[in-house]
Every structure is written in C-alpha cells, then in structure tokens.
Symmetry: C2
Subunit: 453 residues, 2 copies
C-alpha cells in the first residue's frame, strides 16, 4: 500500500491504472518489500532464468541516446530538394553558398524566432548544434565576461546550478570549464525555486543554471507558470548570472493537446530583467539531428554582444542549410504540423514503455517513472542503489541504456537510482524486447537489494 | 633606375616585363620621384579628372574579401544531388542524418587527410569553417592548456607571432583572447625564421604563430623547403607552443605547374617534434564558402586531445555535408582536377590585375606587388603612408577594398602601405573597371605624398 501512496504523492510520477486497479482491489498486491527472503530468492531465480534466455539471444539494441528513428529522418527528405529551383539567394541579397551573414539569414531568423519566442533582432542562427551554441556562450563568458563583467576564468571558482536529473551534455560543458556544479532537485513544477533563489541571492560566484523547461530531460516535466515567473524575476548577486534555457523540446509534443510553458523572455521583460536568460533551440529532432539548424535567443543586448564574438569565431554558419529549412517549412505553423508526423511515429513507443513498466513493475511496487507528454525520454527511478546494476545487467544481455549516473553532474547519482529511457530510436518490436529485458533486470536488481538487506 | 633595382631585389616582387623593357631602354622612365613639383601637380590634376569621371558613374563593386564568384560556385552544384541515391549510410554504419561520430566519418577522413597530408587518425573533420576550428584550438589552449600544460588563461600575458602582412581573421582570433601579437616580416621564402627562432627560444609566453604556408595571404608566397624544415625543427621554450599552419590554399593553384610546399608534419616527425604543429584546411574555396567542410590535422597525440574536447562542445558536425563531399569527389585526385576548373575561371582575373598594375604603375615606379602562382590575393605595397588614402579614394568612388591595415595585427600597418587585392569575386569587366580606378587612386595618393614632402 505504501508504494501506491508514494507514487501518488509524487505528482507527475503517477501510475494511474495501477492506482485505480489497486483502489478497486482488482490486482494482487505483490509488493516486493512484503515478500519473505524465500519468496524473494525464488522470485529472483525465476527472473534470472528469463534473463539468461534473453542473454542467449545475442541482442544488440541501443536505447542510450535520444536519437530519432529512420522513419522520423525520412519525414524531412524533401528538404534536400530545396535547391532544385536553382535559387540560392537570401532575401538579404546574399548568395547563401558564399561567405557572409554570420548571425544568420533574415528569413531563418523570422522562422526560428517564432519557434523560440523572441524577436528577429534577438536571435542568432548557429550551425547544426545547439549544444555548440551553449558551449560558445559559456566559453565567451569565461574568456570575455558578459556585458562588461569580469571574465569567469579570472575567478578561482565559478558555480552552476544543475536541476537533477538533467542532461548529461550540459553538465559536461560546465565540467570542461572547471565549474563547480550544485544539484538542484526537480519537482513536478520544475526545479526547486526556493533553493535556487536562496543560492543565487548572496553568492557572486553562482553564474548560471541549466534548464530544459519544456518536457525536461529526462523527467518530461513542464515548468509551471509560477516557476517561469520566478526564474524571470530572479535577482542573483552576480550581474552576469544567466539562465541557460535549453528549450530543446518546445514543439516536441506527444499529445494532441500540448502543454505550453510561459515565454521566459517576455516575462523577464515585464520585470525589467531581460538580460537574465539565454534561450536555445534547434531542429535536431525536427529535421535531421546531424544536419539541423540551432538557434540562440535573448535580449538584444545579450545577443548583440554574442554576435560580435561570433563574427570572430566563424565567417558564417552553413546558410545553405538555413535556407533549406526555410524553403522546406515556409512557416512556423508548417513546422508545428510537421511535428505531428513525428508524434504519430514515436508516441506509440512511449506508450509501449509506460505500459510495460506499469504492467510488470507497478504491481510489485518497484520503481517510479514518468509518463511524459512530450520530449524524448522516460525517467525511471529504480530502488536506491540499483541503477548501475540494472544498466549493467541490460548491457550484458545486449541492450545499451544511458549510463547510470549520466543524468547527474560528474556522473554521480547520489542515490544510484535514475535511469533515462530513450524509446525513440529502436523499431517498436526491438523496443518491446528491450523493455521485456529491462523489467526483468529491474526485478533482479530489486530482489538482490532486498535480499542483501 | 633605383625603382627597378628595388623591385629586383625584392625576390617575389619582380615586374619582369617592366624590368626587361627598362633594360632594353624601351620604356620611358617617368618615375614619379623624378618629377618636378609642377609636373607632379599636373599629373595629379589629370588623374583627379579621371577619378571624378569614375566617381560620377556610381560604381558599386566589392573586392574586399576572397570570395569565389558565381561561376565558381556553380562548379559544385552537382554535389547537391549526392543523396539522390537515397543512401545516407557512412561506411562506419552511422546514418549521417542522425547524431554521432563527432570527429567525422571515416570516408571524409580518408579524402581530406590526403588533402592536408596527414594520416586518417591524425585528422578531425569540423563544420563549414576552418577559422572556427582554429578558434576552437586556441580556445581549448586557453581554457585547458595543451597536453597537460597550464591553461593559457592563467598567464598574465600570452604572445603570438604574426607574419605580416597576414590574414586579418587570424589576428582577430588572438586579439579576442587578449593575446599580444608580434609582427614578423615576411620574406620571399616565408616569415623571417631567424627572428622567430630567436623569439621562441627563451620566452615561455610565446605560444604560437599564424602561418599560411602555401600562397600566403595576402602575398601569395610559398614557404621554401628550408623554412618548412626550420619550422618543423623549432624548439620553443614553451612546450605548448603551436604553429597554426593554415594550409587554406594547398590545392588552389593558378598555374599548370604548381609549387608544392614540404609536408610540415612529416618533417616534424623526422626530428621527433610532431606535436609542434596544428594543420588546417577546408573546401571553402573548393566547393562552397558557406557550406564546405573544414579539417584539422596534427600528431595523434594533439588530435586525440582535441577530439576529447570536441565531443564536449558538439554532438557531431554536419556529417551529411561530409558525405556529400565524399560522394561528389570520390577521390583526392578528382578534387585536384576540380581545382583546375576554378583556375580557368580566376587565373584571367589575376592576370588582368597584374597587367593593369604593370602597365600603369611599373613605369611610374609606384608601388610593388606580387604575381602569385596560387591562392586568392595580390598584395600591393603602396608608397609608405598611402594605403589608407588609396582605399578611401576607391571607396568614395564605389569600389570597396579590404581595409588598409587589415593585413596587420590590431589593424595597424606601421608603414600604412599594404593593400590586399581580392580579384576573384567581381565579373572580369567590373574587375577591369575597378582596377582602372585603383591605379588612378594610387597615382593620386602617390603624387599627393610627393607634393607634401
């Protein structure tokens, strides 16, 4: 009984069906924690048999990264015909095949400023990687400071706040620069804002925070209006504190009635705080992960400074690819329509994962997980101390998951419990097999843990 | 007489025809310096009349950057059909549309390692900009050091050697990072090696040098074998000193019997000094300046370190564009053949510029210039103190040149004499007009100077 109550109290971590069934008294409660040692040993042994069957199959499946699948990649193939008309001219008069226009062609600014919710003079069009844009922004802060502040490299220590679980590649960027990262717990409405407000208030060395505000990576949480407003109104001791607002999944919905978070730059402007945030986005999961277009938005003052630095680091990004995108989509509305095609391919995969977890684990009271309404991941919390063991068991049987701990700074999950499941890439039959294996591994690890107690 | 002797003594700065004519006594020597004030005033006045005629035409021509022209861009259009076969797979099994393979697909490594003369495990394939690769390498040195050395950001002062005249964008990268730049005079065989060896010998803060070894920007000088060998054997006090060997024009010849410089990495390996150099190249002037492929090569140790950092700054560069290039060219030999098509388009433009200079200026003994055998520029040295005036006169009459001083660190040409002429972009009729204007402006500025003396 305690299990379902725990789950219920966790907000987004609710297994509705399991709860209803439980309340209706229709499913047998076989909570692992209520088993005797003998029952546990037998349970473990049964699952080890199933595990060994899997192992002998020589599987080779990869669920480690949020990669779109082949069907998704095929959705944008017509983009490659964009230049069949022989027209390479941007509306600004630049032949996009040639040099020039380092901050992006105006028609790309129009299209993507709508996507990330900024004005056309508040955006830079980068290359194919928003991570690279983030790296650049952090690097500029380290080498030049921000809007006249001292370069961060001149501090003995610079700190970043890191909502956890979060995106491993964010953490690696700040780790590269020697930043001290502070874990901030996620809640169903976003990161713990009380803690954030407290931490930034007096410490001038706290310089930034990593956020994935819509369908957070990996929890799939959408920041509440209150959370966005509190971020927008943040008054850190450091004038060069920046919120790195990675809106990677801003149009990546998994339902027909999507949630939208508040526009943080608009909110920040309302309270005269528009320099507080850098916004990022990309078409990596709209067109091609390897050949999309990445963008960065922010106040004109922030963007103008970074444009100046950008023009030193590169002559121009790939403007042919920018124009390809503009020609392919035409309007932002068309981009949104395009995303529905992605949804129809990947929503069934998310459903499959959630169904397997609910059917196989909910009745046993093992683990908690999210049922996201968008984004690319399902966040699974195993019993404490079991994540590494589960990932390792899966790996030995041929299924690669995101490394346990990856969702935390320095790769250290203090509870060794979070596993990021990425269901989009494998074909659904493979995914089904992988999830069958996954739940078996969870059962084994959970039983091992209880037996060792 | 002194003029021709000066010219003769300058090695690459020889006007052969003028010299022969002079020796044959066939051309009247109207050396400006031999004119009386009256003759000068009349000469100036005549040219001012011609200038005003030009000015009234409302020209609008751009010779400021080394941009390929439309005909050159058209040479690579078939590259856009590379995926008509529907095959997106790299030989390493990666679907190039998707994430992964941050250091470049193996088939691109094969193709481009031949271009820059390294092994396939000594290369990284970047995005569309070799400048961005150089920026990244400098930035990594600043934030992380090189192979265990202290990060450059921890020094009060870091110095770079800058052969002059040189490439403005190189200088801007080091200026961005606050590097102190030291001018190194160019000679007909490359930068002054005596001076370089002396400067690096004892000063641990001298960390690097910018080089364009083949068809140097803007002089078009090819470093001699001795120069390359001395670079390869350089033993700087700083273990993290690097030669930034920007081989931008390695296959960009303007004659059928091209010069080839020695392979610096090979030479460095011979003397156990392979970590001394970072090599760069790109297809910006092979396929599309805005959508080419940039590469960086070096010792395995250097490259392995940078691969590690690269994987933090980006998930992957645009591998579709890498495969596009591989499919279009197939072999390095085909790339070299392709460059002959470029040559046939731009060599007449270089000839036109040199002819105009020789016909109009050589007999007057004004200025010195190069007749490059490759690359993208003609370097013109006006009489001291005249470069800014010439560029400004041209600009007022509608012809934009590279800013005077741009070829020197901080934009400061101590003699105010060097002007970089970029003949590739304008149609040949426009170029002809622009050069007619240019020589008039040179004549006016030279006369003004002599009159003021």
């Amino acid at each position: 009984m305690s299990v379902c109550c725990d789950i219920l109290l966790c907000g987004d971590f609710v297994h509705i069906t399991a709860l209803i069934n439980y309340l209706k008294g229709e499913i047998p409660i076989m909570n692992l924690s209520q088993m005797t040692k003998e029952e546990l040993a037998s349970f473990k042994s049964e699952n080890e048999k199933l595990y060994n069957d899997f192992r002998s199959q020589g599987l080779c499946l990869n669920m480690s990264r949020g990669n779109p699948c082949s069907e998704q990649l095929a959705l944008s193939l017509d983009m490659l015909k964009a230049f069949d008309d022989g027209n390479f001219m941007s509306e600004c008069g630049n032949d996009v095949r040639n040099y020039g226009v380092p901050d992006g062609i105006p028609e790309a600014k129009k299209l993507f400023s709508e996507m990330i919710g900024v004005n056309t003079d508040e955006i830079i069009i980068f290359g194919n990687s928003s991570l690279n844009a983030m790296f650049f922004a952090v690097q500029c802060a380290f080498n030049k400071g921000i809007l006249g502040s001292k370069p961060w490299s001149e501090y003995d220590k610079v700190k970043f706040l890191c909502p956890v679980p979060g995106y491993d590649r964010h953490f690696k960027v700040t780790q590269f620069f020697g930043v001290e990262m502070i874990n901030i717990p996620m809640t169903p409405t976003g990161p713990d804002m009380d803690m954030i407000e407290e931490l930034v208030k007096n410490d001038e060395t706290v310089k930034g925070i990593w956020c994935v505000p819509q369908y957070s990576n990996p929890d799939g949480i959408c920041y509440s209006d209150e959370t966005v407003k509190r971020f927008a109104a943040l008054k850190p001791a450091a004038k060069d504190f920046r919120i790195f607002w990675d809106n990677a999944y801003c149009i990546h919905h998994l339902t027909d009635s999507p949630k939208y978070i508040l526009n943080i730059l608009d909110e920040a402007k309302k309270v005269g705080n528009e320099n507080i945030v850098y916004v990022f986005g990309s078409t990596s999961k709209v067109t091609f992960p390897g050949a999309g277009v990445a963008v960065m938005g922010g106040s004109k003052e922030n963007i103008d400074e970074l444009k100046k630095y950008l023009g030193i680091s590169i002559i121009s990004h790939d403007k042919m690819n920018q124009l390809r995108h503009v020609k392919f989509f035409g309007t932002f509305k068309n981009m949104q329509e395009h995303m529905k095609k992605h949804m129809s391919i990947i929503a069934p995969k998310f459903n499959l994962v959630c169904d397997k977890l609910e059917k196989e684990l909910a009745p046993l009271g093992i683990g908690q997980w999210t049922t996201p309404k968008g984004g690319y991941f399902i966040s699974f919390n195993a019993p404490n101390g079991c994540a590494k063991r589960i990932v390792s068991l899966c790996s030995e049987a041929g299924v690669t998951l995101t490394g346990a701990g990856a969702t935390f700074p320095y790769g250290i999950d203090p509870d060794d419990k979070n596993i990021r499941l990425a269901p989009t890439y494998p074909p659904i039959e493979d995914l089904s097999k992988a999830m069958d294996l996954f739940v078996i591994c969870v059962k084994i690890a959970a039983a091992e843990k209880l037996l060792a107690e």
